[in-house]
Structures are given as structure tokens and as C-alpha cells.
């Protein structure tokens, strides 16, 4: 019969050839290749201090008849380390999502279980189809001072580990960056650039939950950014640009009252308007 066997890296593994006696004559193969007798103790296969390269199919055949007596798939791996968990609300006040990953691979299959508790109430975190290490929760209550407690447990055949996050409703609010950032020169104004953008499409109700914005800009040739905070509107005119210099511009967003700033938007480049150089004339043409 064939089955899967999970073992830790560094473990010593002993495989029995099914119901065969210890002193039976057998041949072991690993992925179809005969295993040297030096690894046998009677009919038992001994693998010491296994490593990842020793994962594979192990088969045991009766000596003379070459009947298959036992087969197993050895998966060498490690128990899970403490997972990394992050929760965020980019669509307040609708809900929040949590996503997770393992800091190092285990090399064997893992399963994840997430529990979300708000006060005494257990809430369901609906798993996303993609990405699969993410789930989302709808807020049942708003403006609660009671904290949320999210525990993620990761389990595999060699062990389990878990991590817990505790936070209140507003601490995890972080919008997505503003979208469609556009920067254009202003005709006949060599020191101006007009910048406009849109609310992130994931933010469901900017009328009731308005965002404020932070704009940063610098000429490409300098490292120092200039910053402007804007409490309303989705456009701004830069009036102190260096004439003729290409600028890089980004915008970030934050709910007016709660949470943290989004990541910076995709950067856009623009150069202020410059006058067309006048056509040079020669003295002969002037006279």
C-alpha cells in the first residue's frame, strides 16, 4: 500500500518493508533507483539525518519475486515558524481584510485557520479565492471601542504555530493610494504644474468619509521632496517649480479623521511650460 510520510529535516527515519520479517531479503528503491545495502538494517531502510533532497518515492520489493511489498512517499520538511499576519481596512466603513504568509517555507503542505473575535462575538472571515492567503470581514458594528482579536494558526504534519493581532476599528484604516494621477504644464506659466488625481476606487463612500491628501514633488535632479497637505479637493497647482526642470510627483491619501496614510501613488513626471526658443536671425536678414 502506498501513503505519504512526513519527517523533519535532520530526523533519523526507519522504514519497514510492510509485513516482511526483519530478516527477509528485500530491495529498496528511491524514485526507481536501487538503494545501497549499507542503508539497510535487515529489511529495514535506515535514513539518518534526512535532508530535503531525500524527499521522494520509496519502494520495497521482495528479494526473489520482485513483488512490491511497500511503498511510501517521503516528504521531508520543517514545522511552521510563527506566521506573519497583517490586517487592514482599505474600504472603510465596509470592513477589513487580513493576509498572511510564512517567513520561511516548510516544504510540505500547510493549512491555515483564522479566527476573528470582537468582544465576545466570533466573526466569520470569508476566504478570498485569490490571493488564497487572504480573507475579509464585514463590519457589523461601527464606532466600537471594543478591540478585534485575530488569531492565525498554521498547521502541517510536523507541527503548528500561531500569531495574534489585537486592534481597534480605526487603527487599521489605510486607504489605497490615489488613482489616475496626472500632472500637466500650465501654458504660459514656466513655474506651474497642474496636478489632479482621483480617490482610490476601493474607498466606497468618499462623500461621507472624505479623504485628505498629501502631495510630494521634486525635480529629478534634486533629492529633497517638497510636501503639501490638502484637506479637500483632488487637484493642486504647484506654483514654485523650477523652470524647465522635469519633476516627479506623487500623492498619498488618508481618511480625514482616522487611520494612517496610504502608500504613495504611482509617480508621474512633468516639466513646466517653457517658451519656444525664438528663431535666430542673422544680421543680413535684419538689414
Amino acid at each position: 500500500d502506498s501513503h505519504i510520510q512526513y519527517e523533519r529535516v535532520g530526523a533519523d527515519v526507519t522504514m519497514k518493508c510492510g509485513s516482511m520479517d526483519w530478516d527477509s531479503a528485500v530491495t529498496w528503491t528511491a524514485n526507481g533507483t536501487d538503494i545501497d545495502e549499507s542503508h539497510l538494517n535487515g529489511s529495514y531502510l535506515i535514513l539518518k539525518n534526512v535532508d530535503l533532497t531525500q524527499s521522494g518515492q520509496y519502494s520495497c520489493y521482495e528479494g526473489s519475486s520482485w513483488h512490491l511489498k511497500y511503498q511510501t512517499y517521503l516528504r521531508v520538511g520543517i514545522p511552521p515558524k510563527e506566521p506573519v499576519l497583517m490586517c487592514r481596512s482599505n474600504n472603510y466603513p465596509k470592513g477589513f481584510y487580513c493576509s498572511w504568509h510564512l517567513p520561511t517555507p516548510t516544504y510540505i503542505p500547510n493549512s491555515f485557520n483564522i479566527s476573528v473575535i470582537h468582544g465576545t462575538k466570533e466573526m466569520v472571515c470569508e476566504k478570498d479565492i485569490y490571493p488564497k492567503n487572504r480573507c475579509h470581514i464585514r463590519y457589523l458594528q461601527l464606532f466600537s471601542t471594543v478591540k478585534y482579536k485575530v488569531t492565525l494558526t498554521v498547521t502541517n504534519a510536523l507541527g503548528k504555530n500561531s500569531t495574534t493581532l489585537t486592534f481597534d476599528e480605526v487603527a487599521i484604516v489605510k486607504p489605497d493610494p490615489p488613482e489616475s494621477v496626472v500632472a500637466k504644464p500650465v501654458p504660459n506659466n514656466p513655474r506651474r504644474l497642474e496636478v489632479s488625481w482621483q480617490n482610490p476606487s476601493s474607498w466606497p463612500d468618499p462623500e461621507s468619509f472624505p479623504l485628505k491628501f498629501f502631495l510630494r514633488y521634486r525635480p529629478l535632479i534634486l533629492d529633497q521632496w517638497q510636501h503639501v497637505e490638502l484637506s479637500d479637493g483632488t487637484s493642486h497647482t504647484i506654483t514654485d517649480a523650477y523652470a524647465g526642470k522635469e519633476y516627479i510627483i506623487q500623492v498619498a491619501a488618508k481618511d480625514n479623521d482616522i487611520g494612517t496614510w496610504s502608500d504613495w501613488s504611482v509617480a508621474v513626471h512633468a516639466t513646466p511650460w517653457t517658451e519656444e526658443p525664438k528663431h535666430l536671425t542673422t544680421e543680413a536678414q535684419i538689414t
Binding site: 466603513p93 458594528q141 461601527l142 464606532f143 466600537s144 471601542t145 471594543v146 461621507s208 468619509f209 479623521d257
Partner: protein, 195 residues
């Protein structure tokens, strides 16, 4: 009384909502500063967990987006009237405990109490624009002050201020909802319907 939907009432309503939003924002900012002062002066830990405090209006609400304008105003008004009493009690206890020794906390409490009173009055004005007007406070028994030890009173105060901070956030959201036009109408929101 002007009809609730007359143009002048609509303008007055919009003006009151805008000013209310600004008041709520300032109040929240001051309550957060007061919380820092309170925690420090009362020797508490900022991360101290406080169980639900009896008699303190809870800001948490389900189906918030389905509330009518009138519901929002009535719930806000009931909350701020309760906070007015609670903060007055806290101020009284503070003065009994320390006399005039600690004026920083006392002044901060008094300033927030003033804002809470002003905001309650603001809400009453908004409700007067509706034909029903604000509910009367006469005859209502003041909430009883539970007999608590000094440390329990400090924790209760922490709970009061945290919930007030939460209410200040909710209030500005509620007032913004009130300024949104209801579906199908071209002008003022109809507060009897769900916004």
C-alpha cells in the same frame, strides 16, 4: 416655524451641519488631548482595558448606514446630554479630590464640557428645524453616581473619555450623512427616509 423643506430651512440645516462637523472635529481633537492628560495625571496606562461603563452612551452601532436623519440626531443628542452630566460629575469629583491643586486637568475637563454642551445645543437646533423639535430634558432623572473607590472612578473616567472620543468621530460622520441628498430628490435630504 418654517416648513422643514423650505429653502431657508434647507440652507440653515446645511449651515448647521457644516458647523457641526467642524465642532465635532475640534471636540475630537481636544478629547484626545484630554485623554493623554487624564491618563498621565491619573497615573493610568494608556493601554488599560476598560469594561463597558454603566450609564455611558455607547457609540457602537449596527446598520449605521441605514439610520434615518432623525434617528441620527436623536441618538447623538441623547449621548451628548448624557456626556454633559458625566463630565460635570468628573469635574466635581476632580475638584473634590484635588481642590485647585491640579488646574491643567481641571481646565481641560471644563473646556471639553463646554464643547459638549455647545454641540448638544447645536443638535437641538438641528432638531428644531424638524417639526417635532428636540425631546425635553425636564423630568429626566440624572444618572446616579455609583459608589466607587478612587481607582474605579479613574477607570470610569477613562471609559467616559474614550467613548466620547468615539462619539465625536461618529457625530461628524452622522452630520455628513445628513448633508447628502436622498435618492430621487434634487435638493435637501429628507431625514424621515433612510439616507
Amino acid at each position: 416655524m418654517a416648513a422643514a423643506d423650505s429653502p431657508s430651512a434647507a440652507l440653515r440645516r446645511r449651515d448647521l451641519c457644516s458647523r457641526g462637523i467642524r465642532l465635532a472635529g475640534k471636540m475630537r481633537s481636544d478629547v484626545i488631548d484630554l485623554l493623554d492628560t487624564y491618563v498621565e495625571r491619573q497615573g493610568l496606562d494608556a493601554s488599560t482595558s476598560v469594561a463597558t461603563v454603566e450609564g455611558v452612551p455607547v457609540a457602537a452601532v449596527e446598520h449605521w448606514d441605514e439610520q434615518t436623519g432623525t434617528q441620527r440626531l436623536l441618538e447623538n443628542l441623547a449621548a451628548y446630554r448624557a456626556f454633559r452630566v458625566l463630565l460635570a460629575q468628573m469635574l466635581e469629583e476632580h475638584r473634590e479630590q484635588l481642590g485647585e491643586a491640579d488646574t491643567t486637568l481641571g481646565r481641560a475637563l471644563a473646556a471639553v464640557l463646554l464643547q459638549v454642551s455647545a454641540f448638544a445645543y447645536h443638535l437641538e437646533e438641528l432638531l428644531r428645524l424638524e417639526s417635532r423639535g428636540p425631546p425635553s430634558e425636564e423630568g429626566a432623572d440624572p444618572p446616579s453616581v455609583p459608589h466607587l473607590g478612587l481607582f474605579e472612578r479613574k477607570l470610569r473616567g477613562l471609559g467616559v473619555l474614550r467613548e466620547l472620543a468615539q462619539w465625536a468621530v461618529r457625530s461628524s460622520r452622522d452630520l455628513r450623512q445628513l448633508t447628502k441628498p436622498s435618492p430621487g430628490s434634487s435638493s435637501a435630504p429628507s431625514w424621515a427616509e433612510s439616507p
